[in-house]
Symmetry: C2
Subunit: 410 residues, 2 copies
């Protein structure tokens, strides 16, 4: 039996792994309309200002502000309505003192105009004449050219994962094609002589492969491209052959070990044979997931996950997801969404070890209660019943009932 | 100019809309491995228990617990090692008193065995003999048949959106095909005479279509299937024709109005002509997004969104997303992820109106500060710079600097 002589804390283990990575996926140009969830490879620069013309933010009359000085309900200013500004085109008139133009929200200010008065503060007078019932300041109800973005501004930096707002911004400046980072390819190898494909009928002693599919979902969600290499028998030659192929084809290789200690040793041997420096971390001070193996071979990350499905998912979120994000060059300014809750019961843990506990959120008058869902073992349907994970930090020997906790969503 | 005579609060407006919906999308059977993000149409029942055989949770020896009673370091129990349990198969032996079997984590207990002793508490004695250095209770280190799930258990109810854990659970019970709700089809119509496609060169007064693409991203994220109907001129006949087609083909139709009041009126007229009951809500007491239009025609939802891109996204998250979720039958037990922060400055608002303010999260020693990102207008790149939205409830007339707020992630 191997001893886990040196158990690194998860954060330190991750830093060790990341510091040895070399390969960075290339970028590719794609249609921006297909780019949700992708990551910018280079900064995006605005080719022109936004708005590109002075725009009205209200329905009303484009005016020369000076014409309204001193105006009020009792003493309206009378202006001549020279034109109606068409939507999507120039006004076609130039305002002169004493004249104005009917304008709609989003319309382009006529030249000469420097403000817009809302229609609510006007009143029709004679034909082509309007009463202005209040004074208006220069620039009022007008979006200036470049008020959102100036020409040449860096509007989106490199390493940004694109959501709805970013796609909208790119459309606004006409960036319909975009350089994004190629999705990191993540090879997933299942092992364990007891593991059979999900559509197999179970013989006694067999279990279906769960990890390949939970990991695929997690990898896709993190922005990677999962490639499944099937279930490999617990034998060195076969595992070595499949891992070599996966390493050639992928940026990151994950082996979900069979659950026994011997198959974990096999994973470590295979990683060591794949290239320098080989295994960097064998065992992490975290529960679940102690028998995690982290390696780098030829600049690519290799991760050996525990066979238990819950451990595999927790460890993948602690190591596989950050490696994918590192390959993508995602800059880490966005905080991870979570829900604040209070613990429903006391949770004990071992000082020095970081624990991740699946919890269910139960509404209460004082906000959410986080209720640990597990009894004796980490079962996959236990995780299905959970809403997220609570971390008991390494420097605590547990958390007390009622203590505020942050629940990270699965 | 129409008056917004009756401004409903957003929640009441949504309930009015949902109460008139009739159509429910059908279900379809798909490969479970492609089902991430889809929603179960019917409950999933376990066809067999999990685990399906008694499993060891550790590496050690399968034993008859009674053989270890009274055992300890000073007085070990000596057991005959009858076999090694192979992974993925039956042990092929039946334990009799005084015998045990070497077993690996995940291995199947031999018949007769009722507990497992961890290898750490054993020591090799003679050939085929092992010393057990502590007493073990019945059931120790064993997962019983059905301990995760019993045969016939409802393991996932209808209306659950599937994530990695659920996919894993389905694989574990061999559910490789699954009935999911068909994705609701959301027709998106852009309007506004000033609006041109994103790849167009801008003429003075024109802006590129942003809303069709931000909405597409939001609809996909919510579990719907966006269908774009292009940019329709602000004329009744043309809008009516396109909206009729979209209503036939989709479950929900969204028109992003041009920004002027006249195009919003057009949207309302078109909805009223499409079927009973027509427009239910014209104007919602929310900022941004007051000129929202909610209608139901022939049991299908029709939503008129403001033209401003930020307003359109905020309103779509308040109305379009819940309608998609209602069509999908998603049960609302999962809380919405958010980040708790403290407001960086005072924010004023009008009592009676619900305000949604885009904020940026800035780390501070006391946790995150939520910093409103907007100046005078709701600009798309302002939203790009934001991390989420803070809600100022209708019963407040603002929020003070330092007040704790919940930031909903965009």
């Amino acid at each position: 039996m191997p001893e886990f002589l040196e158990l690194l804390p998860p954060q330190e283990a991750l830093e060790t792994l990341l510091s040895h990575l070399k390969a960075a996926p290339h970028s590719e140009e794609i249609d921006t309309r297909q780019a949700v969830g992708r990551v910018t490879a280079v900064p995006v620069i605005a080719p022109h200002p936004l708005p590109s013309f002075p725009r009205s933010t209200v329905d009303g009359y484009a005016i020369i502000a000076a014409d309204t000085y001193g105006a009020g309900e009792a003493l309206p200013a009378y202006l001549n309505v020279a034109a109606e500004v068409p939507m999507g085109a120039e006004a076609g008139v130039e305002l002169t003192p004493g004249s104005c133009a009917l304008i709609h929200t989003g319309g382009m200010l006529p030249s000469g105009a420097d403000a817009v008065v809302m229609v609510e503060y006007t009143q029709s007078a004679a034909a082509n004449e309007v009463e202005i019932l209040r004074a208006v300041a220069v620039g009022e109800n007008v979006l200036k050219v470049g008020e959102d973005v100036a020409a040449g501004d860096e509007v989106i930096s490199a390493g940004v994962r694109l959501g709805a707002a970013e796609i909208g911004g790119l459309m606004a400046i006409g960036s319909t094609r975009l350089a994004v980072v190629r999705k990191p390819r993540v090879g997933i190898i299942s092992s364990g002589d007891e593991v059979v494909p999900p559509d197999a009928a179970l013989k006694p002693g067999q279990v279906r492969d769960v990890n390949a599919y939970t990991l695929s979902a997690l990898v896709q969600d993190a922005g990677g491209d999962p490639l499944l290499y099937g279930i490999v028998p617990d034998q060195y030659a076969e595992m070595q052959a499949v891992a070599t192929l996966a390493m050639e084809e992928c940026d990151l290789v994950v082996i979900t070990a069979g659950s026994s200690a011997s198959t974990r040793d096999l994973t470590a041997q295979v990683f060591d044979a794949l290239g320098e420096p080989g295994v960097l971390v064998h065992g992490v001070n975290v529960r679940p997931g102690k028998p995690t193996i982290l390696a780098v071979c030829g600049g690519k990350a290799m991760i050996g996950l525990p066979g238990n499905p819950v451990s595999a998912l927790v460890i993948a979120s602690l190591f596989v997801v950050p490696v994918i994000h590192a390959y993508l060059g995602i800059n880490k300014t966005r905080p991870r969404p979570s829900i604040d809750a209070r613990l429903s019961i006391n949770l004990s843990s071992q000082t020095g070890r970081e624990d991740w506990v699946p919890v269910r959120l139960v509404p209460s008058p004082q906000g959410y209660l986080a209720e640990p869902v597990f009894g004796k073992s980490n079962l996959i349907f236990g995780l299905v019943r959970a809403h997220g994970l609570v971390c008991i930090p390494a420097d605590a020997n547990g958390l007390a009932a009622g203590e505020p906790v942050r629940v990270f969503i699965l």
